[in-house]
């Protein structure tokens, strides 16, 4: 049985259309974003060249995924990180849970793969105090809802709604509903969590097979704290994030930032193993200022199987910039209410097929217009609308049509 049902998706979509707060939040958020990306690309035409290289690098990895996973594992060991491989979402949760234990304070930076495996909820259920530290993702946590965009999870929330959530759920007083005020209050509130945290959990934008280094791109600065302050860092990384070299990984970060209309990115983090120093007698000691221990959990969860499928394999090149979402006429009215339980919009349908099974993706496919604006804007040229039409075909076949 698919874990997504078309009937429910249609109900969700109708609810989204009738939700004035969501519609207003979406309207405010996307006005301008559509214009900014072409401006950035016109100003930095080199990004287009890098996008071609990223596409090519990802194709190479996906044709030989098992070997690249092995290379990544070896390279991670080489830099003193502890690699793990998880075949399923459940395995991934268990591995992380085994490392974290219970009764800990955990800070997380926004990660779609963490959401995909249901990590926050699982760690909470084991008696850990878990905090999302990306502002948008924190608002989602406080609201108890799901991220509504790949890069901007709270794209659907207006300042009024955000202010209400922060004051109600965090129990802090806000003077008015100024966005600056909300940001300042959250900063103060989370500062204490960062300092007390036992574990920091992040994702990764790209992991280099040649060196075991991974990169994380951001604007808030929360990733630096999540990955730098607690004594233990766990990175949860989909195996599709593996690229051949560290140079490729940088390219992914740059292209992702530009297509997400955040260029230059404020921060680019490179992490190759745990923190260490050899300043005294050249003896290497781990845990100078950063975490002495780094675990990297490589998550398959359907990716290796998808990599062998024509068309669906192409979804795995996705760098999660979210551009296809902003350009999709359906997404712009429904946000991530369409696309799957975690991922959303055109890329979401493909990712749902990868991670929850093709039959689940097929339940979502009929909301696609097939207009192909997404294909036009994808930096790594994923034939998103063709993947979705293929899923429509699967829907027909699996329902005996």
């Amino acid at each position: 049985m698919p874990s997504v049902a078309l009937e429910e998706v249609l109900r969700d979509v109708r609810r989204a259309l009738e939700d004035p707060a969501l519609q207003e939040g979406l309207r405010r958020a996307y006005t301008g974003a559509e214009r900014r990306v072409p401006e950035i690309l016109a100003e930095h035409p080199e990004i287009l060249e890098l996008a071609r290289r990223v596409e090519e690098a990802k194709r190479r990895v996906l044709e030989d995924l098992d070997r690249y996973i092995e290379m990544a594992v070896e390279s991670l060991k080489g830099v003193g990180a502890e690699p793990h491989f998880a075949g399923t979402a459940e395995e991934a949760r268990e591995i992380v849970a085994g490392i974290v234990g219970s009764g800990k304070v955990v800070v997380m930076s926004k990660s779609m793969v963490a959401a995909e495996i249901g990590l926050r909820e699982h760690l909470e259920s084991l008696g850990n105090e878990v905090w999302e530290t990306d502002l948008g993702e924190l608002l989602i946590q406080l609201q108890g809802s799901k991220p509504m965009h790949t890069i901007a999870p709270a794209i659907h929330l207006t300042r009024e709604e955000a202010a209400r959530l922060v004051s109600e759920k965090l129990g802090v007083k806000l003077d008015g509903e100024k966005i600056e005020e909300i940001v300042a209050v959250v900063r103060r509130y989370l500062r204490d969590k960062f300092v007390r945290a036992d574990v920091g959990i992040s994702g990764a934008n790209a992991l280099a097979a040649d060196t075991g280094a991974f990169v994380l791109v951001e604007n808030e600065g929360n990733i630096r704290l999540v990955t730098g302050l607690p004594p233990l860092h766990i990175a949860v990384v989909g195996v599709d994030k593996i690229v051949p070299t560290l140079t490729d990984a940088f390219h992914v970060a740059m292209v992702q930032a530009a297509y997400a209309s955040l260029y230059p990115p404020t921060y680019l983090n490179v992490i190759a193993g745990p923190s260490s120093t050899a300043d005294i007698e050249k003896k290497r000691v781990y845990g100078a200022h950063g975490p002495p221990k780094l675990h990297v959990v490589l998550v398959d969860n359907g990716r290796k199987k998808a990599a062998k499928k024509p068309l669906l394999a192409e979804q795995l090149r996705c760098i999660r910039c979210g551009r296809c979402q902003l350009e999709c006429p359906v997404w712009r009215l429904t946000a991530n209410h369409w696309g799957g339980p975690v991922y959303g919009g055109p890329m979401g349908v493909g990712w749902t097929a990868v991670t929850l099974g093709e039959e689940s993706g097929a339940e979502l496919a009929h909301l696609c217009l097939g207009c192909a604006r997404c294909d036009e804007v994808c930096p790594v040229r994923i034939p998103l609308s063709r993947i979705i039409r293929w899923l429509k075909k699967l829907y027909a076949e699996s329902h005996g049509l």
């Binding site: 217009l369 207009c371 039409r389 027909a396």
Partner: protein, 317 residues
């Protein structure tokens, strides 16, 4: 909506009648009668019936809109099916707007006259002007599509034509870019009439002394993104003395009219159409469509829109 039921109705309708929705079959080709077009020939005009079907599709969608979200909706359709009244469904739902039927027929006649005025020699297929099956392909009903496409291809090949002239984006795309994948050995040349008019533009003459007006162009997704037809309509409209305005999203980045989800989620389709219509209206100018689906969708949400063939024929014939 009960998508499974809608899909099976579409597939069964095409299988039994040749058309996805119940339709007055004679109306598919009777538009051509006053023109005395020769039958067949080296080049044939193939409408694929989409313009003719658009008013019927529109009335079906209006009906679905009224059923959406009501349990009774699924029930009524299911009842129609169990009673084996798939074709009779037409009597209930396909009360197409006669004005709209006349309008799309006038579009087709305008296209035919424009081709003649441009010196193109061509014939028509009359009762062999079959539906292309495009909705089956769009809905992923590949088996039913492949069966239907084979019949269409055989009919077209039998006509002896070597050039097929298409008139709408969906039929153009499916015939030119999809048929070769689904029909073994399909090798007919497919050209859209806008491409042909553009090639023969020197044979056309704009009417003198008539003041031009502003038009805002709504590119259909399938012309702009799949078939590379972007410049031709602009060139022709300008040649006809009209002032062409671009909406915020145009050409390769044009915005969908919402049509493709009209049967699955009429309310979503309507909202997308409203979004696009507001955008087009914001530019100022008469809105030009080039696709029968865009035409009925933008009209359904109150848009005053007119097909490019009518604009061109007024100025060039």
């Amino acid at each position: 909506m009960d998508v499974k039921l809608i899909l099976s109705l579409l597939a069964e309708n095409v299988e039994r009648t040749g058309y996805p929705v119940p339709v007055d079959v004679e109306r598919i080709y009777s538009w051509a009668k006053p023109l005395n077009l020769p039958r067949g020939g080296r080049a044939v005009l193939y409408t694929g019936a989409l313009y003719q079907l658009a008013p019927y599709i529109n009335s079906l969608v209006r009906h679905l809109e009224s059923l959406e979200g009501r349990r009774a909706g699924g029930l009524a359709l299911r009842l129609a099916k169990t009673l084996g009244k798939i074709i009779d469904l037409g009597k209930v739902v396909a009360k197409a707007d006669p004005g709209e039927i006349k309008a799309v027929e006038e579009v087709l006649r305008s296209i035919a006259r424009l081709l003649s005025a441009a010196g193109v020699e061509y014939g028509y297929l009359y009762e062999d002007d079959m539906y292309s099956g495009v909705i089956l392909y769009d809905m992923g009903l590949d088996e039913a599509f492949a069966r239907h496409a084979k019949m269409v291809a055989e009919t077209l090949e039998k006509s002896g034509a070597s050039l097929i002239i298409t008139v709408d984006p969906h039929t153009t795309h499916v015939l030119r870019s999809v048929f070769p994948e689904y029909v073994d050995g399909f090798g007919l040349e497919v050209k859209n009439y806008l491409e042909i008019l553009s090639e023969n533009i020197d044979s056309l003459k704009p009417r003198r002394g008539e003041a031009g007006y502003r038009v805002v162009i709504h590119d259909p997704c399938f012309y702009a993104r799949h078939e590379g037809i972007v410049e031709e309509p602009r060139q022709l409209l300008r040649f006809a003395g009209l002032e062409v305005e671009e909406p915020p999203r145009s050409g390769k980045m044009t915005y969908c009219c919402g049509g493709p989800v009209e049967a699955v989620s009429p309310s979503l389709s309507r909202r997308i159409a409203e979004t696009r219509l507001r955008e087009l209206q914001g530019v100022g100018g008469r809105i030009v469509t080039m696709c029968p689906i865009c035409y009925v969708n933008l009209r359904r949400v109150g848009g005053k829109v007119e097909d490019i063939a009518l604009h061109l024929s007024r100025r060039l014939l």
